[in-house]
Structures are given as structure tokens and as C-alpha cells.
Symmetry: C2
């Protein structure tokens, strides 16, 4: 089924304990779309870049069957740039630079051919832009998923809540779920966020996996235990891409199939952290993905049913 993604397409410069990069392709929209491309071949990307964004990077997206006609290229402007440094504890990072550039006045355009999209993924972005994309769709997509972060909770909580009220699934991390809900346990946090609108809540716990809440049920996906994460940048976006990509591929939004989608997301995130930025998720094969799915099966399957 058709999938439309909105999110940043950007330059990232990353420093981790294992190395550093100059400006490379990054952004939530990039990670989501690339990750989803392994599941679904009908993907549209809505974003904005400056005219400094290399044609090679645009070609990379096209090579992954991503329609980029929804990416506005702003003449005379520069592309959004983020620079960050991770500590030895990869859960902690310093933002060294954030240059909004062309992103500052992003007025998203939904090309006609993106209308009637079945699945809509709102990557992490200002909640106003996320909402504008929903409003500019002539027909409400079958499923709308959003990702967000604490930054928007801090500076525009009311805007954010308005957007949250319009989506079916929200994906946020553990601390953000606690901040958004004011609750310390994740079960309580999910209840409060559920009351804000979304039918399903995904809480990402990094190295501890992810929880899916909905329909009064809960599913727990592990993360693959790793010797080290080379670079966690974009892991959450890559997770979201695997999640929505799998749902768009299978066109089944039952809770049981969402469990599979959470595993698909977890599988993709486990690859993402193996190299810098998108380096790992642009080179994957179907065989590698299937092998890793079986790793997740081994990691979780037990036969106990009663004592």
C-alpha cells in the first residue's frame, strides 16, 4: 500500500566514542523512508532541503524506490544541519550545533499524487508541520503514526497535544512518555497518552526494547543485545520506518500484526546502530533482515505454558 513519510532530510555530523563523521545524510525523514523501503516499494517523502544538498543523496533515496517529488529544494538556502557528540554511555549526547536553515519556514506541500495515501508517517518535526500534512490530505489515511520528542514538549506542548489528538499511533521514548504523561510507570503513562487520542502507544526503551500498548493489551519487544552500539543516531526513526513499512506492506492494522511491525522496527533499529548514520541501512539485503528476524525469534521464544 502507499506510504507517505514527512520528516527532516538533513546533514548530520556525528561523534561517538568509536569515531566521527563530517556532514553526512541524516534526518528523521531519511531514516524512516530508507528503513521502510525494505518492506514497501510505494513510498513518498515530504521534506525540505537547501540547494546545497547533494544530488548523490537525492539519488540514494530514489534508488530505494522513494518518491522525492515531495522534497522542496530551496534556492539560496541551506539544508538543516545537526551536529552531536555521544558519550561513552550512548544514552547521553550533547548537541554541538543545530542550524535550522531551510527548515525554519517549512510549509509542507502534499503533491497530488500523494493524495489518497494509505499510510502516513509523521517523523519527528515541529508538531505544526505534522498537523499541516494531515490537514492537507484530502482523505484521511487508513493509519497515521507520529514520532515526536521532548524538545516539542518543552517549547510547544499545546501544539503538540493538538497533533497527538489526530493520530492513531504515537511512538516516543521512555523518558518522553513520562514527561508527556506526568506518570512514572509506563503502564500509567500509556493510559494518560491514550486518553490524549492515540489508540496505540509505542514506548521505545533503547537497549531495553519497546512496548506496544493498545486495545487493553501490551506487547514487549526486546532489543537485540549488542557488544556495542557504534552510532545510535536515527535508531528511533529507523524503528518507526520498519514499523510503518511493515504495516504498509501487509496492510493489516490488527494488534497482532502490530506486534510483528514492532519486531520489524526493532530489527531495523538493530542494524542502524552498527555503522554511522544511514551507512548500514542503505546496504541491507533481504537475507540479512530475515536472518535477524530469526535472531529475535531465538531471543524471545520459550515453550512454557503451565507449571
Amino acid at each position: 500500500m502507499s506510504l507517505t513519510v514527512v520528516g527532516t532530510v538533513a546533514f548530520d555530523a556525528i561523534e561517538t566514542p568509536y569515531g566521527k563523521t563530517d556532514k553526512i545524510i541524516g534526518g528523521a525523514g531519511t531514516h524512516v523512508a530508507l528503513s521502510a523501503s525494505y518492506f514497501n516499494k510505494d513510498i513518498n517523502l515530504i521534506s525540505i532541503v537547501g540547494d546545497d544538498f547533494p544530488q548523490d543523496y537525492l539519488d540514494l533515496l530514489k534508488k530505494h524506490s522513494i518518491d522525492i517529488d515531495g522534497i522542496q529544494i530551496k534556492k539560496g538556502e541551506k539544508t538543516f544541519f545537526w551536529k552531536g557528540r555521544y558519550h561513552k554511555d550512548m544514552n547521553v549526547r550533547d548537541t554541538l550545533a543545530t542550524e535550522l536553515n531551510s527548515l525554519e519556514n517549512f510549509d509542507p506541500v502534499v503533491p497530488d499524487k500523494y493524495q489518497n495515501t494509505d499510510y502516513l508517517m509523521l517523523g519527528n518535526l515541529t508538531p505544526l508541520v505534522q498537523r499541516q500534512v494531515i490537514e492537507r490530505m484530502e482523505k484521511r489515511p487508513k493509519l497515521i503514526v507520529m514520532d515526536t520528542m521532548n524538545f516539542w514538549m518543552d517549547i510547544m506542548l499545546d501544539e503538540l497535544k493538538k497533533t497527538i489528538s489526530m493520530v492513531d499511533v504515537i511512538s516516543i521514548n521512555e523518558e518522553e512518555a513520562q514527561q508527556l504523561s506526568g506518570k512514572n510507570t509506563l503502564v500509567k503513562a500509556a493510559k494518560v497518552i491514550h486518553a490524549m487520542g492515540p489508540k496505540y502507544i509505542i514506548i521505545k526503551k533503547g537497549a531495553h526494547g519497546a512496548l506496544l500498548f493498545g486495545e487493553g493489551k501490551v506487547f514487549s519487544a526486546p532489543a537485540l543485545p549488542l557488544e556495542y552500539a557504534f552510532d545510535p543516531t536515527g535508531a528511533g526513526d529507523t524503528f518507526a520506518g520498519g514499523f510503518i513499512g511493515y504495516l504498509a506492506k501487509t496492510n493489516d492494522i490488527s494488534f497482532d500484526n502490530m506486534k510483528n511491525a514492532v519486531i520489524a522496527g526493532s530489527v531495523m533499529a538493530s542494524f542502524n546502530v552498527e555503522k554511522f548514520g544511514t551507512e548500514r541501512i542503505v546496504e541491507l539485503t533481504e537475507e540479512e533482515i530475515n536472518e535477524r528476524i530469526l535472531n529475535f525469534v531465538d531471543l524471545t521464544v520459550f515453550s512454557l505454558r503451565k507449571i
Copy 2:
């Protein structure tokens, strides 16, 4: 199969954000043995108390088919006492009092009838006593499992390492695994601890579940997501009791069956936190346990096998 447990039998006084207790029955040995009693009926308990320890509490253990002839009752001495207060974040607790009392000169005795035990569980205790129990067994048990904590790493690391080198399975929590190994990721930590002797390493992650490492494989068990934990005291011991109790019952120490045992432990720990101390795990029924096992199945099972 026969199971021998060594561990403290004690008084606990607990304060949590939900209430407080006066002195109630506690101790690692108590939690381990009570939890294991739902799986295996041939359980021996090696411990020590003072003559202030109520007959009612001893009868409670006997009622759960636990042989208490290995509990020394020291005339004129008092029972080990621990008093603690949990914060709103239940991962943080203050120890308000620790009175070793009769535990201070604990010289463990292995009754003749406990010889030839098949399974040995060394509950959290001074590593010297744990080792003495191993050495006082005429025949090495089929499987020796130990639980320990950071306290012993801080004050007698060499003693602890000596005991660790003699066991098959070690169960410790996440921060303790990092402290013991000097490694920050759990995969690396498990490798280092494996090199110290144990073939299998269980890393307990509280609300994030537990990981089992061994034979080059890894298994991830979730914790049951809970609205709140009423009292986490003894959750790790109760986990260990479910783990060893299930293994003793099934007498199968393959990695695949250890996965089941980790789930059995997780199930028992999920009950333990619902009330103060041992209050919940003394009143369980087989039906409740089987129902909760199915909760863990729902929580983890997905059908995805390839994309």
C-alpha cells in the same frame, strides 16, 4: 528432584510510597524457598535465626513443604534484621538499619539428609558461607546457582570471585554485572563474568526484565508491565526461586529449558511486588501462576518469521 537453598531467614521492616510494615518475615532464603515451593516439593533450607524468630514463621515455611532442619536456631541471639525505605522511583532505596545478629557468625551446617541434593541455590549471602555450603556437600550437585550483590563486590571481591568460580549459573542485576565486569554493555559484561567460571549468566533488569546468556546464546525475558510495584523487596530472590524451582521440577538443564525457568522466575517476581514482603507469594494458587504464564506468552509472542 531435591533442591537445597541457602540464604538468610530474617526480619524485614519496609516502607514504600504505598505503606509500611513492622517486622515481617523476610530474607533471601525465605523468598527463594517459598517461590520454589510452587514448582518442587523436595526443598531444604539452610539458614540461621535467633530464638526471637516466631514459630508461626517457621510453620509457614513447613506448610510450603520446606524442610527447615537446616535452619539453626541460636539461643540467646537475635535474628538478622533489615529495615529499608523505597523512594517514589522504586529502583532507589535507603537502608535504614542492618542488624546482622545471629548471621554474624553463621557457620552453615548441611544435615545428612541434604547430602546428595540435585540442585543447590546459593541465595545472596556472604560469599564465604556460600562456598562453605558447596564444600560441605559430599557430592557436587548437578547444578549450582548463586545470587549475589554489589555489597560483596565492595568489601570482599576476591572471596566473591572464588565462589563465583565454583558455580554453574550466576544471577545478578544490571548495575552489578557492570561493576563486577568493568564493562558497560551487558553482552561484554556477560563475557567477562563467563570467563570467571559460570557457564550461564542471568542479568536482572528490574522493570525491563532479564537476560540469560550461555552456550553462545542469549534469551530476553520481559517483566510484566505493572501500574505500580507495591514493594520490590525480595523480587530478585523470588525470581531466583522460580528459576531454580522450575529446573528442579523438570530436571532439564538445557539452554532451552533454562529459558522456561527464566520465565517461571519472572512470573513469580511479578507476583512478589504486588504486596509487602512474602505476603503475595505465600497465598498463590497453581491457577494464578498458570494464568500469569499465559500473560507472558501474550506479552512476547509474534508470528513474524520473514519479510
